[in-house]
Symmetry: C2
């Protein structure tokens, strides 16, 4: 068997998510179908963020999906950034519309207009809401979960009395993103600031969490934007301050999307298929009867009892008593990335035990049925932690901090390509000019990911010009 | 003070939902904004249905919002029914599309296409999924929550081996709709079958749950459709049956939408504003400090403690310690429909008690702080039951079963109009012809709501023709 994951990562990815029944293509270009197992991962992600947003006092709302063209033009950078990828409704109910309506790529303009109506005084601030919604960006090249013309996301929008409050909210959400993406998806991320050219259209500052996939490429896993008063000025979001003056709010927005599903698959998956972190796995434990067929009814009965026990503990458990062979089932459930497999046959019954296997470990372990509940809980918790640790190790083995010139970078990329290994991420000095940034991209295909808050090394010279570095940035190919 | 609710129910409705901060209009015609309190009601409705769908083994998925024009034309009745209200995307990313894409009014066509790919054998059946989504029907006359161009809903879609299984699923979902709408929203409904002219576009049979609003008009609160093999034939949803033959599936679909929010407001609201059933109220209990200001800090401290106690019991409780006067606050929280108010002042503190008031009752009740937790839980449960009972009484006082001719119906409507009272619902005999149905509508504005499964009276003659009645139908004006 060839190692498809190493030889053709994209092909491995597409095959894996289809075989694992997470998604299907649709007849509409660039729009995918989230099948139940794929969608349930998203539901668990939503639950985890939902709890945290609520603790922050952020409430959910829902805004219209269609945005009048005139709204976009109010903030110049915003329309410039999004215009190239908007789909437009031009007709409805048999008539041509007077004004085109865009399918929202993001809701700043709609929510900004609402905020300008709703916010009057400092007593109304902070005004903080979140929306779970479908959004559209008409993409030329698409990849399921990671880049699709329609995708699902949450977008938070907040308005504040002053810059400090708004910046605190921006940073707090970036911390929550890191907490959930690492703690729940077991995907390690670096927090940092985007360079000006990679900023959200209309933001003063954009911050991101960036994750490394197994092929060494980067995924921007979440972003948090400080808008200053730019959107407030464009949409007239003013309030009466404590000195009785009308002044502009400072606003923020922040979002994560269904691309998180793609990220966790590309971080944990292996040659056998998906590897799902227990906290988001639709099925956490699968129970499989094994051994001679004639004994099966009592085996299945005992497993049904075990299923009830585990369900009562809040564990998502599936009993597969189909007629397929155990070997077939082992493969199928491995492919689906189920964290834990429990086998049980006549001999196990005699010994009052089960055989257990964790998806990310090789060995099987016999466990007494008397201890099984605690063992399952503990094993799932340990796997959750272990996956993050494994991903951190994978990441650190593909990070490079000793590349100081563009020639060295090119040589590094070529060397890795020849060896069939990921080129990974490079921590580089940057003189802060757009020219240098553009040159890196043009000559290597690497782009700036972010300027990490806590770089392992502070680089002193620009990788392009050799001049003093203004920033230390992560460079990588990105999805 | 005039009784606005009786004099101008629509005006009362619009004022109430705006003052209670549930919604706002948007700049896009017919599209509304769900503000946090309005959206949270929807979230509680979603949770209640979500649990029940899961128990039924129905899983959530997500399908693309854009539907190619060619899909609609596959089922003739379907396109005929929806064509007049579709918005179309005709351009994207600066280019004209080769084929127009509709914003989904419902997803039968998209999901039918997917089912035809996914379903192969009887082993795949039943295939049962649900989707929570935004949908579009470009409406000429709109009313917040009840009729908007974009709305939120769930749509379930299932495929089965035979008619019996599909009909069972259709009926089971209608029962779940009744269970939740009555048990959670406290809105009583009648189950029944729609007449052919009121069927879902493309269905063999459409069933509905119909609710009466306080103005006597009807709201179709949910529908469940048996499609037979009509959609399966249009979308080629075939499977290999147990006799090794390729045959068509029987399919169903069923949905409830954000119009449920409008229904519960129009069922329970009163002159003072909203009255929310405890199970869906964003705030179930509001705590209000009263009495001399200087004592306020220790009063608020004790209320904070009470808030913690109640929160620990899973109760959604808000402490309003703003500087507004108690009278202002009483009005504000009544307007918002909060089920229970708890007042607490210095004298209450001395007596170790609070004063409580339920939104739907007149009297205040003093309750010892020692018993408050159980008292609150019990009171909310009782109110939930009471609201349904009150709504049932309201409904039965506006039901008429003794109207046998169109002239009598017209006289009834005229009499009620003159008295400023709701015309209500009329249980009538119907000869089953489209002509009679059309005549009722044309001459009275009443439409057939449904043919109830268990009518209070079986009518024997048609209200229009005097011929023998084929069915006993509910007639009413409807939203």
């Amino acid at each position: 068997m060839t190692n498809l994951q190493r030889e053709d990562f994209s092909k491995w990815y597409i095959q894996t998510i289809q075989k694992a029944d997470l998604m299907d293509y649709s007849p509409v270009r660039g729009c995918m179908i989230f099948k139940p197992d794929g969608f349930e991962i998203w539901e668990h992600i939503q639950e985890e963020f939902g709890v945290r947003f609520k603790e922050e006092g952020i409430r959910n709302a829902y805004f219209p999906m269609l945005i009048p063209e005139s709204f976009f033009t109010k903030e110049a950078d915003h329309i410039e950034g999004f215009a190239p990828e908007l789909p437009w409704v031009t007709e409805a109910a048999g008539e041509k519309l007077e004004e085109r309506l865009a399918l929202r790529p993001t809701s700043e303009t709609m929510i900004g207009t609402a905020f300008s109506n709703w916010i009057n005084s400092y007593r109304d601030l902070p005004y903080e809401i979140n929306q779970w919604a479908n959004v559209f960006r008409w993409e030329k090249k698409t990849l399921p979960f990671l880049r699709t013309s329609e995708f699902l996301w949450q977008e938070g929008h907040t308005a504040h009395e002053n810059e400090e409050d708004a910046r605190n909210r921006t940073m707090r959400m970036l911390d929550i993103y890191k907490e959930v993406i690492e703690g729940v998806l077991a995907v390690p991320v670096y927090q940092g600031r985007k360079t000006p050219s990679e900023r959200f259209a209309g933001a003063v500052d954009t911050y991101s969490v960036e994750a490394m996939m197994k092929d060494g490429k980067a995924v921007q896993a979440g972003t948090s934007h400080f808008m200053g008063t730019k959107f407030a000025e464009a949409f007239d979001i003013k309030y009466l301050n404590r000195d009785n003056k009308h002044v502009f709010c400072n606003t923020t927005s922040w979002g994560v999307s269904t691309r998180l599903i793609g990220s966790l698959i590309m971080t944990h998956g292996d040659e056998q298929g998906l590897v799902l972190p227990p906290k988001v796995a639709p099925t956490q434990v699968v129970l499989l009867p094994v051994g001679p067929w004639k004994k099966k009814p009592e085996i299945v009965e005992r497993l049904e009892e075990l299923q009830k026990q585990l369900k009562a503990k809040g564990i998502r458990v599936t009993l597969d008593d189909s007629d397929n062979s155990p070997g077939f089932k082992f493969n199928e459930w491995e492919l689906k990335g189920v964290p834990m497999r429990i086998e049980f046959g006549p001999r196990d019954m005699e010994n009052n035990q089960v055989m257990t296997k964790m998806r990310d470990l090789d060995d099987k372990v016999a466990v007494s049925l008397d201890d099984i509940e605690e063992y399952v809980e503990k094993s799932l918790e340990e796997m959750q932690v272990r996956l993050l640790e494994t991903a951190r190790q994978m990441r650190s083995s593909h990070e490079y901090t000793n590349i100081d010139t563009l020639d060295e970078l090119k040589a590094h990329i070529e060397e890795k390509r020849a060896a069939g290994e990921p080129a990974g991420w490079v921590l580089a000095g940057w003189d802060g000019t757009e020219e240098s940034e553009a040159k890196i991209k043009e000559e290597t295909g690497f782009t700036t990911r972010n300027i990490p808050f806590v770089p392992a090394v502070e680089k002193t010279t620009c990788i392009v010009t050799g001049k003093p570095a203004k920033h230390t940035v992560w460079l990588a190919r990105a999805y």
